[in-house]
């Protein structure tokens, strides 16, 4: 029914089947919007956050999706600045995912803050010493860049491109895309880093405080490197999942291997850096603040194990898989490594956002626990549903994978 809106040469499910797929996601979105509305209307007491757990599931979600959405800037950098031509096959998908991740994160942030209408205060009275100011400025700018990168993808839709002004505008945007890619890389470098810096500067929390290079704690650089490693892995994963769900070949094996190799190289740097940083923290930083790291989780040794896992199973192992040529040629190993890398991000962000706040800072404190309320979970799921819907629509009506037409012919 909507065949004329779908790009030529691409097979898509019948409209009815597509709507059946969208149905549950739309329902989830509606539920999530309702939860967000409740929190905005009645107050944040509907969440399970409190004065000790001031950051909760939403901040954890924000940090995770922003790190995973880093694929957008990194692929743009690799393609437009370093001229890695094979990544042209996934750049549209990467930009779409980036747009979804950042817009979703901003929406959740507006629900998370107590006074969203005062959001402009950060711009009007910025505190340049605060990492959060840096995050706010950069993420807002970068969302703008992503919007300008995403709109041309939509304008290339088969029906929309027939409008001359759309096609001409899209063509001219494409000619200047490398400038936007460069600006996006610059902005991403800073906000990915500052998200890490948020925690590294907290001299009141020995668990996360780290040594600094200049004004930037090591977590600043660790976050950038981990985001750069996770970006290509997440693109690998989402492309593979999309191709499995839609039962189509979307990219060549070469593209998967390229993404894996890039992720692997960066993981080498990350594992090395993180190991050194942790050792410095254990031996110097934390004791200097009067705490031995042993004591943090003395009552719950399983929590310490999570730290080890992050660097070993979720860091070293996928790196080893990616860097082994024999394994890299098999898609199942690539996907395994991608899953592990992305989980590594999730674990790392969890440790920083949730575990930090659970830990005592004063001698009469207890180890606390936190579980999000159903309203919080609902709003969280709203972002997931939003992402699925936007991606599904983009996949159906825009040309996210330029190689698809060629590949399905063979």
């Amino acid at each position: 029914m909507d065949k004329t809106a779908i790009s030529r040469g691409l097979q898509r499910a019948p409209l009815g089947q597509f709507l059946l797929w969208l149905g549950p996601w739309i329902a989830l979105l509606v539920f999530g919007v309702y939860c967000a509305y409740l929190c905005l209307r009645y107050g944040l007491h509907l969440t399970n956050m409190d004065n000790r757990f001031a950051f909760g599931a939403w901040i954890f979600l924000d940090l995770t999706v922003i790190a995973l959405g880093a694929g957008a800037f990194f692929t743009g950098f690799l393609l437009y600045i370093l001229k890695r031509k094979e990544l042209r096959a996934v750049i549209n998908s990467a930009v779409t995912i980036g747009f979804i991740c950042y817009s979703g994160a901003v929406v959740i942030l507006m629900v998370d803050v107590g006074q969203p209408l005062r959001a402009w205060f950060t711009f009007w009275h910025p505190n340049v010493h605060s990492m959060l100011t840096e995050v706010t400025f950069c993420i807002t700018c970068y969302l703008g860049v992503l919007a300008f990168e995403y709109i041309p993808i939509l304008l290339k839709n088969r029906k929309l491109r027939q409008i001359p002004s759309f096609l001409v505008f899209e063509f001219n945007m494409h000619k200047v895309m490398y400038v936007l890619a460069g600006a996006g890389t610059f902005l991403s470098f800073f906000h990915q880093g500052s998200l890490g810096g948020l925690y590294g500067v907290l001299n009141g929390r020995p668990f996360v405080y780290r040594e600094s290079f200049g004004i930037w704690p090591t977590t600043f650089f660790l976050f950038i490197v981990s985001a750069a490693a996770a970006g290509p892995s997440f693109i690998l994963l989402t492309t593979w999942i999309t191709s499995k769900v839609t039962k189509k070949r979307l990219v060549t094996q070469e593209v998967y291997e390229s993404l894996g190799k890039i992720s692997g190289y960066i993981l080498i740097g990350y594992v090395l850096f993180k190991t050194i940083d942790t050792l410095v923290w254990i031996s110097m930083t934390a004791p200097g603040m009067g705490v031995h790291p042993d004591s943090f989780f003395a009552s719950k040794p399983g929590y310490t194990a999570l730290h080890l896992l992050e660097v070993t199973i979720f860091g070293f192992l996928p790196m080893a898989i990616y860097m082994t040529k024999r394994l890299r040629s098999q898609i199942k190993w690539l996907v395994t490594a991608a899953v592990l890398t992305c989980l590594g991000i999730v674990v790392n962000r969890y440790i920083l956002t949730i575990q930090t706040l659970a830990l005592p800072t004063l001698p009469f404190d207890e180890l606390l626990s936190y579980m999000p309320s159903w309203q919080e979970t609902g709003a969280f799921l709203m972002v997931i549903a939003y992402g699925m819907i936007v991606y599904s629509l983009s996949f159906r009506y825009a040309n996210l994978f330029p190689l698809e037409r060629e590949l399905q012919r063979n």
Binding site: G9, V128, F148
Partner: protein, 264 residues
């Protein structure tokens, strides 16, 4: 944020941070503005058709873009990067100036890569038609939506549209001019066009010895699109059947036409 806002101080931190921020914002806005301005200029100078074609050409697969000199055997595998606009192509000029000269055939037709042909009627008028190959692919059932008399057509823009059901494909116009007559389908769809500039510049069109190798190439391209089971029924008495897509149910009219008529 700005110096006149209450609480602002000219500290090094503020200057560097806000300086960088405003620089990045200006760079982004300037870039987008440049794209918008260039687009508007293209429309004002009526070059938007050229831009549309440039964009469309980029989306054609590499298979659809072999250089005419590759097809005529003059050079190795080469992809056209110039929108088939051989008139101002440095490579085409270089090939013309070189030792190999094409022998001009007596044929009075000049072929566009989009399968429309041009025949000079007089100094300032031409006839535009669709070649036999494309006509058989479009088939007799499609209805042509020809431009009105007096309408302007633009080189590499739309000459006319074919409609079948709710799908449509356009035919690329080989030259620019004003439509003074149109007709068909009894002896084939055609347009009679009064040229914009006096004297037709047809250097971007294939002619003479170039035509056959190109036709063979296009035929091979067509065969690659057709599943093996249907390939036998493609020709009758050594000629392509009247209605190619009708012979094969799994073949989509829209898809085949879009490949041959260069509308991705």
């Amino acid at each position: 944020m700005f110096p006149w806002v209450y609480g602002f101080e000219w500290t090094a931190g503020n200057v560097i941070f806000l300086g960088l921020f405003f620089t990045v914002v200006i760079v982004i806005l300037t870039t987008v503005t440049v794209a918008v301005v260039r687009s508007r200029r293209a429309f004002k100078e009526r070059r938007h058709h050229e831009v549309k074609w440039e964009s469309t050409f980029e989306d054609l697969g590499s298979e659809a873009r072999p250089c005419r000199h590759q097809l005529s055997g003059e050079t190795d595998q080469r992809m056209c990067r110039h929108g088939f606009e051989c008139k101002d192509c440095s490579f085409h000029k270089q090939m013309l100036d070189s030792a190999y000269k094409l022998v001009e055939a007596e044929s009075d037709r000049y072929y566009h890569r989009g399968h429309a042909w041009v025949r000079k009627e007089s100094y300032s008028t031409v006839i535009i038609g669709l070649d036999d190959f494309a006509t058989r692919i479009v088939g007799p059932k499609a209805r042509a939506k020809l431009p009105k008399i007096g309408r302007m057509i633009h080189e590499n823009g739309t000459a006319w549209r074919f409609l079948l059901g709710d799908e449509s494909v356009r035919v690329l116009a080989p030259v620019s001019g004003q439509v003074i007559e149109h007709g068909g389908p009894d002896r084939g769809w055609y347009l009679k066009v009064k040229l914009l500039d006096q004297g037709a510049d047809l250097r971007h069109l294939l002619t003479g010895n170039e035509v056959n190798p190109w036709m063979e190439y296009e035929m091979a391209r067509l065969i690659r699109m057709i599943p093996e089971s249907c390939q036998a029924g493609l020709t009758e008495d050594g000629q392509l059947v009247d209605d190619v897509t009708a012979k094969c149910p799994s073949l989509e009219w829209d898809l085949v036409c879009s490949e041959i008529l260069l509308e991705p």
